[in-house]
């Protein structure tokens, strides 16, 4: 008898240990996934918060920038000319185009801003930062190819043979594909014959003198030229910039202050962020009063009968309706029937209000229900009317719960994509919306749009936008938790 019992107890303990282990394992796996997800996004997105600029001397030519009309000045021309002046050897049309590819189309923005802020600069020579293109920026972030520079040991003799060059001397470390920089030029190794190196000129050497130890070096690129978006020539030009220490890395405020763009380095999330704020504001303004009013009525005033039961069931069902359905509803009702503008935060807000309304009603009802009936009784007992009891006693006590539910609903609205696709908030919109009727997009849709683009820089921007979205959502949740803790009341 005693043996059986001990057996039984041991079994129970074993079962308890198993359960604990399973729980801990589940938690561990979840945490692992979360850490993996977050770190992946942060690692990918972090570089997008920085950008590279090249510092150049630019003379603001009064012929190109009219002091009377500084807005209309040809700043692009000035910056491009100044940049080309750094590379006097680049003359061919193709090379000039490749060289231009290093600078962003918005490279002249800084110069324009400086001159517009101080027209007295016209005619003077300034140190101006010029934004690099996304590909050049990625190169300096090390995301195009790995670059290793090895100083040359020994001497090299360089001779020209028609179009190509023959290099002899201490060439034992040189392999095919490397770039040898010597005598003001850059030669790419095409083939090796013993210690004789055949090479083609990326940048033609200025002299054919013997290069001694320290006068030459070897660039090794880890990614093949065909597999990256900048060619070897551009690498050489950019290495030249790096050597002259004229490239600087700064925080990319532009990411937060500009709208979308086709150029990755110019694209920012301000448009989407403002669009999101407008959209969520519209939905909050609609859903909060409607939701709370509905919840108060259903919870405190409505008679309990078949009709209110039906309404209750339907509200719960609405909370479970896939969000894209709400998008279709919005398309049919707000756009097609009421003729509201397409892509507008107004319509987005209306649709999201429908989406979060059930959530808010359910949360608000739960919060109202959590207020003990003794409070209502106490108020009624001293002669308060039902309405006074509800609005002066029950509602204030339910506010934290209602707010928590509302914020969680808002967080859902903030992250919602599908219904907004239906009402056209998925267009490419470069301008930051000024009001709820302007065409706009929202953060999650912007993420969706960027994730679709082929440029590598946009992949980074996508992750960066996800970081911003997550920060917003985490903050909203943190506020909800704070409110809950702050106003939590024990009865």
């Amino acid at each position: 008898m005693t043996d059986l019992r001990a057996d039984f107890i041991a079994k129970r303990y074993a079962s308890e240990r198993r359960f604990k282990f399973l729980g801990a394992a589940a938690l561990g796996i979840t945490a692992l996934f979360l850490i993996f997800l977050v770190s992946d996004i942060v690692i990918k997105g972090f570089p997008a918060f920085f950008e590279h600029r090249v510092m150049m001397e630019v003379t603001v030519d009064p012929a190109k920038v009219d002091a009377a009309k500084p807005m209309a000045g040809d700043y692009d021309g000035l910056v491009n000319d100044a940049f080309r002046a750094l590379y006097p050897n680049v003359t061919s049309r193709a090379d000039r185009k490749a060289l231009g590819g290093i600078l962003s189309q918005g490279a002249a923005d800084d110069l324009r801003a400086m001159v517009l802020a101080d027209p007295g600069l016209i005619g003077k020579t300034l140190k101006v930062p010029a934004l690099l293109s996304d590909d050049a920026d990625l190169y300096f972030k090390g995301m195009q190819t790995g670059v290793k520079t090895a100083a040359g040991a020994g001497t090299l003799q360089i001779a020209q043979a028609g179009e190509s060059y023959v290099i002899t001397g201490d060439t034992k470390d040189i392999v095919q594909g490397q770039i040898i920089r010597a005598n003001g030029g850059a030669l790419r190794v095409t083939s090796l014959e013993g210690t004789t190196v055949l090479a083609e000129a990326l940048v033609a050497p200025t002299t054919l003198n013997t290069a001694t130890s320290g006068q030459w070096d070897i660039l090794t690129l880890s990614v093949k030229e065909t597999e990256r978006r900048i060619n070897d020539r551009q690498v050489v030009w950019m290495e030249q910039l790096r050597q002259s220490d004229s490239v600087g890395k700064t925080i990319s405020w532009r990411f937060f202050t500009s709208g979308d763009s086709r150029e990755a380095e110019l694209a920012g999330i301000k448009g989407a962020l403002v669009g999101s704020l407008f959209t969520v504001a519209v939905s909050l303004l609609l859903a909060l009063p409607l939701g709370i009013a509905a919840a108060i009525y259903l919870e405190q005033f409505a008679p309990k009968n078949k009709l209110t039961d039906l309404i209750e069931v339907n509200i719960n069902n609405l909370a479970a309706v896939p969000s894209i359905i709400f998008g279709l509803l919005g398309l049919a009702v707000f756009l097609n029937f009421f003729g509201l503008p397409r892509s507008a935060p107004l319509v987005g807000g209306l649709v999201l209000a429908l989406l979060v309304l059930p959530t808010i009603i359910i949360a608000a009802r739960a919060a109202l229900k959590a207020v003990p009936p003794s409070i209502t009784e106490a108020a009624l007992g001293v002669g308060a009317s039902k309405q006074q009891a509800v609005f002066q006693h029950v509602l204030p006590l339910a506010v934290p719960g209602i707010l928590t539910g509302t914020i969680l609903g808002l967080a859902r609205a903030f992250g919602e994509t599908a219904p907004l696709l239906m009402i056209g908030m998925v267009a490419f919109i470069a301008d930051v919306p000024q009001g709820v009727n302007d065409a706009a997009t929202v953060l999650p849709v912007q993420i969706y749009l960027w994730s679709d683009l082929p440029e590598i820089a946009f992949q980074s921007k996508t992750a960066a936008a996800i970081i911003v979205l997550m920060v917003v959502l985490f903050s909203l949740n943190a506020i909800a938790i704070y409110l809950r803790k702050r106003f939590e009341r024990r009865w």
Binding site: S374, I375, A378, L380, V382, A384, S385, H393
Partner: protein, 271 residues
């Protein structure tokens, strides 16, 4: 200062009912929750300026009837009432009766102390404020202080009127609830097992308070404790299965009940 458990009831004069003006008169009252009948054809006359205790086993309808006196049952959708209950000769279920005014006139103290989660001052001031009983702040303060004094709570809380009412001890909270009820100047105070959540010392204080309040109010108290009924009430009504079995002077009900069921209950044969 009275020691706890001291019997505070003054010896009741015989035939209290006959001597006093009636405050509450109920005739042939039936109360239903949906299909279930909770009160069956109940008639009772409750005198003013006395404590009437309702005793009886759980589910006998005493609380239901108590809550009918200030129409608190109105908040329960399935609850239905027939017959009539008058206070000072006015039918409280009449169409002309404003339930808000009725509840101001018939205050209620609940089983569990339920102060508002507000300051002590606000708890008491709420009633006078919504009824516009105070012209200005000074008036309101006077009412609050007077009510707290009547509820024998003022001395304990005078230095912390702005502290939350929920921070008081259970007994103090219940006295705060009584002060809150008194503040709107009621004529009747209904108490639904006001001491069941309190310890003996707090109970003794409340009982002492009830005995003082009896001078000015018609008090009806529902209690599970027969000792309490014996201590605080002048009249006792015994309820059983939704009917009023016996109603009379407390002394008589407890010493010489006329009904066998009353005797059985009091002597502990069922309950």
């Amino acid at each position: 200062m009275n020691a706890p458990f001291q019997t505070v009831v003054t010896p009741a004069s015989p035939r209290i009912i006959a001597d006093r003006p009636m405050k509450i008169e109920a005739k042939d009252v039936n109360i239903y929750y949906g299909e279930k009948q909770a009160i069956k054809s109940l008639s009772i006359d409750i005198p003013d300026r006395a404590v009437s205790a309702f005793i009886g086993p759980s589910g006998c309808g005493k609380s239901t009837f108590l809550r009918a006196i200030n129409r608190m049952n109105d908040t329960i959708p399935t609850c239905r009432i027939t017959g009539n209950i008058t206070i000072d000769g006015r039918d409280i279920y009449d169409r002309d009766i404003d339930v808000v005014q009725l509840r101001a006139k018939v205050g209620m103290v609940f089983q569990k102390p339920n102060p508002f989660p507000k300051s002590i001052f606000e708890n008491v001031a709420y009633g006078p404020r919504i009824h516009g009983m105070a012209q200005n702040k000074t008036d309101l303060e006077e009412i609050v202080v007077a009510s707290l004094k009547k509820a024998s709570l003022f001395e304990e809380v005078k230095d912390r009127l702005t502290a939350p009412g929920t921070g008081l001890s259970g007994g103090q909270q219940q006295r705060l609830c009584i002060a809150r009820a008194i503040a709107v100047n009621p004529q009747v105070i209904l108490m639904d097992e006001p001491c069941s959540a309190l310890d003996p010392i707090a109970t003794a204080k409340i009982e002492e308070l009830i005995d003082e309040l009896r001078q000015n109010y018609c008090i009806v108290i529902v209690t599970h404790s027969m000792q309490q009924a014996a201590r605080v009430s002048q009249l006792t009504a015994f309820f059983h299965l939704g009917t009023l079995v016996e109603f009379g002077d407390t002394d008589e009900v407890f010493t010489a009940p006329q009904e066998k069921r009353t005797q059985d209950y009091i002597t502990g044969r069922f309950g």
